[in-house]
């Protein structure tokens, strides 16, 4: 039965996607997407109920599967090369040729490693990623149904391009599940490349000049990541003749051995997770339609990067490579939080904040103690729910008002209350106790006790992100009501948003137990250390919620005071008679302190420092 469920998770989305392509009707498409969501939810929960386990499903363990994986190592770079030639993009051409070279080395010059004992291993980490894909991924695909309809109406397309779009979206969910579950390095690498492909196609979906440019940028950076991954795999093959991931991440294997292969694979993870200096690909990806940014670039695909690093984490504990990786992550957390501070583009704020949180998880992976790994996984799951929620909200608000600038979103709560409220709750969930993200950050901070510099960067990043998100939420709620008429929204929009909101809060509540499930039995006490504070704080938060709602209901009925403006209110709304007897117009805007948090200087200086850190990661392991 287990194997059937694994098949459902990996293959069904692919089949449903192909069906979307063939049966082009919108009704059929909606039914297929909803069915996929249901199938993934059922399959995911069924597998979760049996975790941890190992399995050998035929379609992942057979010779044919291995051959397909090997073939993919050639076919995908060839396709990238073709695209590079078509788009005349030098870096894509160079890197895909290099990757073809690496694939040939791996296939012909290094003795083939025996296949992994069990093709599928489901432990806490892969379960976490799988559930993120099954739930966050499904919600986002459902949200995409009404969104893409509006999107295409807006673009005035003659022939709908949605069938192809949903094929890639759904197939991507299958690839991600395969990636989470597979225990063979070659299969893993094949799925990894497949996500690069999906990302390239989806970023370029709108086919505007900007979209193409961003797609190619994402492509070359991710091929570079793929090269690092393949280099690591070849070294491991050569050194140990192994392809079984579970055996490879056994710290005993690495005593006395150079950690260079691990450093290569960790670097691949950093690129996939858009750590500095590779943040431009994720930023560029924001030109894609919102479901793409939500699915690939905030809540799901970038999780591959942190998944890889967390997978390697047991090997990294206490090593120099691990310490440098911790610094790489902590530095990105700090620098991207600073860049988020200086942004008024709501989608860019989300993008930078995503990189920041991924950086925090990578820092946890670099620390590598069981407590740090558990904190990293908890952060990964809660971040997927929270950030997915925020992306969907921003996407919907953007469609409502036609702008993604935070200044234009001012006071949106009057126009589209449900979505804006969810966005405010989501931004609070990013930074406030006792909700999940803060708890994860706190656990990471205490786990980093061995590395003062990483801790300092985490404190800086933490303060920056608090300010950034409170300002974000405050701006959505500020200002006068734009119009009393509420925007129309469908159940397919608000359903996923409210489900993600429930997940973000619910997972935050469950965090102590999630954490203890991920720890080895000796440490597995949900109430140990500061975690015991969480349930009382949650009860307190609920009491606060009840009191707050009561007061809100009471105050909603009263007439508001006239604004204190240092002048006399005038007849025209938004103006007052002030100094010099003049009629002054009131306007609002956030200070972004661009002279301190400006994007260009941080990209330049931060990029240079981060490059140095990444080189140190590889160089340190080499020496």
């Amino acid at each position: 039965m287990t194997e059937a469920y694994i098949g459902l998770l990996v293959l069904w989305p692919l089949v449903a996607g192909l069906a979307c392509l063939v049966l082009r009707g919108p009704g059929v498409r909606s039914a297929l997407v909803l069915a996929t969501g249901a199938a993934l939810a059922v399959g995911g929960l069924a597998l979760a109920s049996q975790a941890p386990f190992t399995a050998n499903p035929g379609f992942l363990a057979s010779e044919t599967a291995m051959h397909i994986a090997e073939a993919a190592a050639f076919i995908l770079p060839v396709y990238f090369l073709f695209k590079g030639l078509q788009g005349k993009h030098l870096l894509v051409i160079l890197f895909s040729i290099a990757q073809l070279g690496l694939a040939s080395v791996s296939a012909f010059m290094v003795p083939a490693a025996p296949a992994a004992q069990s093709a599928v291993v489901l432990d806490g980490l892969s379960l976490a990623l799988m559930l993120v894909v099954c739930f966050a991924g499904s919600f986002i695909c459902i949200f995409a149904l009404p969104y893409m309809k509006h999107h295409e109406e807006h673009l005035h397309l003659k022939v709908s391009r949605q069938p192809g779009f949903f094929l890639i979206m759904l197939a991507f969910l299958g690839f991600m599940n395969g990636l989470a579950l597979s225990n063979d390095l070659h299969l893993f690498a094949a799925f990894y490349e497949a996500t690069t492909l999906c990302s390239f196609l989806l970023i370029g979906h709108d086919q505007t000049a900007e979209a193409k440019k961003s797609a190619y940028r994402a492509l070359w950076m991710n091929i570079l990541g793929g090269m690092c991954l393949h280099a690591g795999i070849i070294l491991i093959q050569k050194q140990f003749g192994l392809a079984d991931i579970q055996q490879i991440v056994n710290p005993a294997l690495w005593t006395g051995a150079s950690l260079l292969p691990i450093a290569f694979i960790a670097a691949a993870g950093c690129i996939k997770a858009a750590q500095m200096p590779f943040q431009p690909w994720l930023l560029g990806a924001m030109v894609a339609p919102t479901p793409v940014s939500a699915l690939l670039h905030s809540s799901t695909m970038v999780k591959v990067g942190v998944f890889v690093c967390l997978r390697l984490s047991p090997v990294l504990a206490g090593t120099t490579t691990g310490k440098i990786l911790c610094l790489v992550g902590a530095f990105t957390f700090f620098a991207t939080s600073a860049m988020a501070m200086g942004q008024s583009n709501a989608k860019k704020i989300l993008a930078y904040s995503t990189m920041a949180n991924l950086g925090l998880i990578i820092a946890c992976a670099g620390i590598g103690t069981p407590i740090a790994i558990a904190a990293g996984i908890v952060l990964m799951v809660i971040h997927a729910a929270t950030k997915g929620l925020l992306f969907l909200c921003v996407g919907d608000m953007e469609q409502t008002i036609g702008s993604r600038d935070l200044e234009d979103l001012r006071g949106i709560i009057a126009k589209s209350p449900v979505v804006a409220f969810a966005a405010v709750a989501g931004s609070m969930a990013m930074v406030l106790p006792p909700l999940g993200m803060l708890v994860g950050k706190w656990a990471a901070l205490e786990a980093a006790a061995a590395s003062p510099i990483a801790m300092v960067m985490m404190t800086l990043g933490s303060a920056l992100s608090v300010v950034c998100w409170v300002r974000f939420a405050g701006t959505l709620m500020a200002g006068k009501s734009v119009s009393a008429q509420h925007a129309h929204s469908s159940a397919l929009t608000s359903g996923p948003i409210l489900s993600m909101l429930a997940a973000a809060v619910g997972l935050g509540m469950a965090a102590p137990w999630l954490n203890s499930m991920l720890l080895p039995p000796a440490l597995a006490n949900p109430m140990a250390g500061g975690w015991g504070l969480m349930p009382p704080l949650f009860i307190l938060a609920m009491i606060g919620w009840i009191i707050g709602m009561k007061v809100l209901r009471r105050q909603s009925a009263v007439t508001l005071a006239t604004p204190y403006i240092g002048g006399l209110p005038s007849n025209e709304p938004g103006t007052f008679v002030g100094a010099l007897g003049r009629n002054w117009v009131l306007s609002e805007g956030n200070p972004y302190a661009a002279e301190i948090f400006g994007e260009p200087q941080w990209t330049k200086i931060g990029g240079a420092l981060a490059t140095a850190l990444l080189l140190a990661l590889l160089g340190g392991a080499f020496i």
């Binding site: 609070m428 803060l438 003062p452 300092v456 933490s462 303060a463 405050g474 307190l540």
Partner: protein, 284 residues
């Protein structure tokens, strides 16, 4: 949770705002004496809050009452956490949550002064949070644990191991007590350029509750400062009192800085000192 923790928590819940109120009273008496005035009686802050409680004034936004209550709950919770010997970092985060709610409420107001205050409040948080966190990390490193009881269990005063965090802590106290030169988000006197800044739009009972939340915050901040010499309750009180005096003196001899100076000059300097101290503790 055993019974002692429970009593400690209840004690923290009741005493902390009272202590904060007393601090406000002492502040007003001493400031008056420094300025050669008689000043109000010690209990004046309590009378003020009592009077505010009885006033019903139209709010500036429907949301403010909610945010005020949340801020109060978070501030009191941070006191309770500290009193019951919980994790000091978590106590800090809960307290920061309270500041976030105050800012959120001010964002919702309708006066431009309130909104400017909210923005400045956020910049203040940006300035003091890192240095405060690093100071707590220093204490945690030196005392070997993150909970308040291990901070208070050290035999030697922590001060000698961390002299460089003192400027940072003073900076935090000045900001949290809304004292010059860092009363940037909310000035004490209505005739100044931001009016009451972040507090402008709060009135009546909401404002009274916010005042109590502020007292609770003051207690938390001074309490964390007093960990510097936590060999006994009297020593801790003395440290808190000395810190308060330093803040009052600075308040009376300085003029308000801009948020740019705070963020670009003062915050980095205090932070670098604190970081140096942290690294030193690790090297030692």
């Amino acid at each position: 949770m055993n019974l002692t923790t429970f009593y400690l928590a209840i004690g923290g819940l009741i005493l902390a705002p009272l202590i904060g109120g007393l601090v406000a009273g002492v502040d007003r008496v001493i400031t008056a004496r420094l300025q050669s005035r008689m000043g109000p009686p010690l209990m004046q802050p309590f009378f003020d809050v009592g009077k505010l409680m009885s006033k019903v004034i139209a709010p500036a936004s429907h949301w403010q009452g909610m945010f005020v209550r949340w801020a109060l709950i978070a501030s009191l919770a941070s006191d309770v956490l500290l009193a019951s010997g919980a994790d000091v970092l978590m106590c800090f985060f809960v307290q920061a949550g309270s500041a976030c709610f105050v800012a959120m409420g001010a964002f919702n107001g309708n006066s431009p002064y309130s909104k400017i205050g909210a923005q400045r409040e956020l910049f203040q948080m940006l300035a003091y949070e890192p240095v405060f966190l690093v100071a707590i990390l220093c204490m945690a490193k030196a005392s070997g644990g993150f909970d308040a009881f291990s901070f208070m269990a050290s035999q030697q005063p922590l001060l000698f191991k961390m002299p460089l965090i003192v400027p940072g802590l003073i900076f935090v106290v000045l900001i949290k007590l809304r004292k010059s030169p860092f009363d940037i988000a909310a000035s004490h006197h209505m005739h100044q350029e931001v009016v009451r800044g972040v507090y402008t739009d709060y009135a009546g009972r909401d404002f009274a509750l916010l005042e109590i939340a502020h007292w609770a915050d003051v207690t938390v901040v001074l309490w964390i400062c007093s960990f510097l010499w936590a060999t006994g309750p009297l020593q801790m009180l003395a440290v808190a009192f000395i810190t308060l005096m330093i803040a009052l003196i600075i308040d009376n001899i300085s003029a308000r800085l801009t948020w740019r100076t705070m963020l670009k000059r003062v915050a980095p300097i205090t932070l670098i000192l604190a970081i140096a101290n942290l690294v030193w503790l690790y090297v030692e």
